[in-house]
């Protein structure tokens, strides 16, 4: 479960707030909400943007069950990657705590705080938000 991208500790630290708390960008010009936040709106290009916290419950728009994983993720294979609709915005994330055959499009999911990668025994442990099915679907 090592890093896919060899991120520096500074890069992980810089992104901790929006990754841990699901902070999105919100454009004050066109009103669109997008994740992750960026300095300019990806829709209209405006630089007049601020932040908002995303809802932590959403629905699965689509998903893929990934078997061809990098070596570090072999012990977790298959990994489920999902496109989640949170109402105001969508995001691509990992879906956990469920068997692939139990999953279907439209299922309700909720955010959980999880380890995303571990770089060997002495490297960085990176955390982030993943999603799992809610008890009441």
């Amino acid at each position: 479960m090592r890093r896919l991208t060899e991120w520096s500790s500074a890069r992980v630290w810089r992104s901790r707030v929006h990754r841990y708390r699901l902070i999105a960008g919100r454009c004050r010009s066109c009103g669109k909400v997008y994740y992750p936040p960026t300095d300019a709106c990806p829709y209209c290009g405006s630089r007049d943007v601020d932040n908002m916290e995303l809802p932590r419950v959403g629905r699965i728009i689509s998903y893929s069950v990934i078997y061809a994983t990098p070596f570090e993720d072999r012990n977790r294979s298959p990994v489920i990657l999902g496109l989640i609709d949170l109402g105001v915005a969508r995001l691509v994330t990992e879906i956990v705590d469920v068997k692939p055959e139990e999953l279907k499009i439209g299922d309700r999911v909720e955010a959980v705080f999880r380890r995303v990668s571990v770089d060997g025994t002495t490297g960085l442990i990176v955390y982030g938000i993943k999603f799992r099915p809610t008890k009441a679907r």
Partner: protein
């Protein structure tokens, strides 16, 4: 005006015995021989994953020297999977602007240098590391996700989508430069091991090495094979999550609109498009409006894009699926293949009398797209 006056292709394969510089040398030698030129003003090297796989930066300078062109002007172009067509666009603009009269574009990349798990990791860097690729997206995770969405939205079954790789394999059989020269049935695609469900191994491009070179010339000499009329491009969303309509490749739609606005695109006879996965090929057909939304897979199954079909012939080379996809080199292969079709010299499946061709190249699921319009000079 910019013409393709020479092409050199190396068969896509696992070239364990050849270095990246050797592959570039062989492709260049073939291209220079076929164009019979003496001097080159500029070398553009298109390569993407090589800087990870080869541990080499400033590749163009090192390749230029090692292929006997030390002293030439050179630059490396890296635009992910679209590097090859991006390099052709740069080459054309050097000639159009008068900075060069003859440009050699060499595309080269090697994917067989390491075990596949390491290549999967490197390939995931084609996607946005700040969003989607923060997670384990593997090799084709996002394509799998889009394929399931496509099947759900348009109610298309998995078997219908399998006609795409079957057509690509059928086309590649006659192409001496293709990596996978054997036929497969659509049923076989469903039985293959899953890569990123619903994608199977037979929906994805093979991991191979390759090099392709073309000579671009501002003058239509006796060797001119085809004219590159225009190349256009656009950038897209960093993640499919940002698009309201992820089943349309926004950047390709914009690039193609720009192309049409700039030139008088006649009816197209042949297209080489970027089918890194079955679903990318299908979405490109629909984005280019060669098929209605949700109907491209059915059109492929009906033979619309096969030789003798009603539509343009799509990927007579076998496409990324079966010719292969040496990442940064692929766009150069495509331009060379369309030039060979337009001059009637393609050594595989021929599109007889083809006069107008399109080349489409994208990175990832459309972080950027490039499209070129080429015309016969015969």
């Amino acid at each position: 005006m910019v013409y393709v006056t020479g092409v050199g292709l190396i068969g896509v394969d696992r070239h364990y015995d050849k270095s990246i510089r050797r592959l570039a040398f062989e492709a260049t030698t073939a291209a220079l021989n076929s164009s019979m030129v003496e001097s080159i003003d500029f070398v553009i090297v298109a390569s993407s994953i090589s800087y990870l796989n080869e541990s080499q930066l400033d590749l163009a300078s090192y390749i230029a020297s090692s292929i006997g062109l030390r002293g030439v002007r050179s630059i490396t172009v890296e635009s992910g999977e679209a590097s090859g067509l991006a390099a052709v666009m740069m080459g054309k603009s050097l000639i159009d602007s008068g900075l060069a009269s003859r440009v050699l574009v060499v595309g080269v990349d090697k994917l067989s240098e390491y075990p596949s798990w390491r290549i999967y990791k490197n390939l995931s860097l084609l996607y946005d590391s700040e969003s989607d690729a923060f997670y384990t997206i593997g090799f084709g995770g996002l394509a799998g996700l889009l394929m399931r969405l496509y099947m759900d939205v348009y109610k298309v079954d998995r078997l219908t989508l399998a006609y795409w790789p079957a057509l690509m394999h059928s086309n590649a059989k006659a192409n001496p430069y293709a990596m996978l020269r054997f036929a497969i049935t659509p049923e076989k695609v469903l039985e293959a091991p899953p890569i990123a469900e619903p994608l199977t191994l037979l929906d994805v491009f093979p991991l191979g090495d390759g090099a392709a070179a073309i000579v671009l010339d501002g003058k239509a000499s006796g060797e001119a094979m085809a004219e590159i009329v225009a190349v256009e491009t656009a950038t897209g969303y960093q993640s499919i999550a940002l698009s309201d309509d992820p089943l349309k490749i926004e950047s390709l739609e914009v690039a193609y609109r720009r192309l049409i606005e700039r030139t008088n695109v006649r009816s197209i006879d042949v297209v080489e498009l970027h089918d890194s996965f079955t679903i990318t090929g299908i979405l490109e057909l629909e984005t280019l409006r060669l098929a209605e939304r949700g109907r491209a897979a059915e059109a492929v199954a009906q033979g619309i894009f096969s030789i003798g079909g009603e539509g343009p012939v799509v990927n007579p080379s076998g496409g990324l699926k079966a010719r292969g996809h040496p990442i940064g080199a692929t766009g150069v292969y495509q331009v060379a293949e369309v030039a060979l079709q337009l001059s009637g010299e393609f050594p595989g499946l021929k599109v007889e009398g083809a006069r107008d061709g399109l080349v489409v190249s994208i990175n990832a699921m459309g972080s950027s797209s490039y499209v070129a319009y080429m015309r016969a000079v015969r």
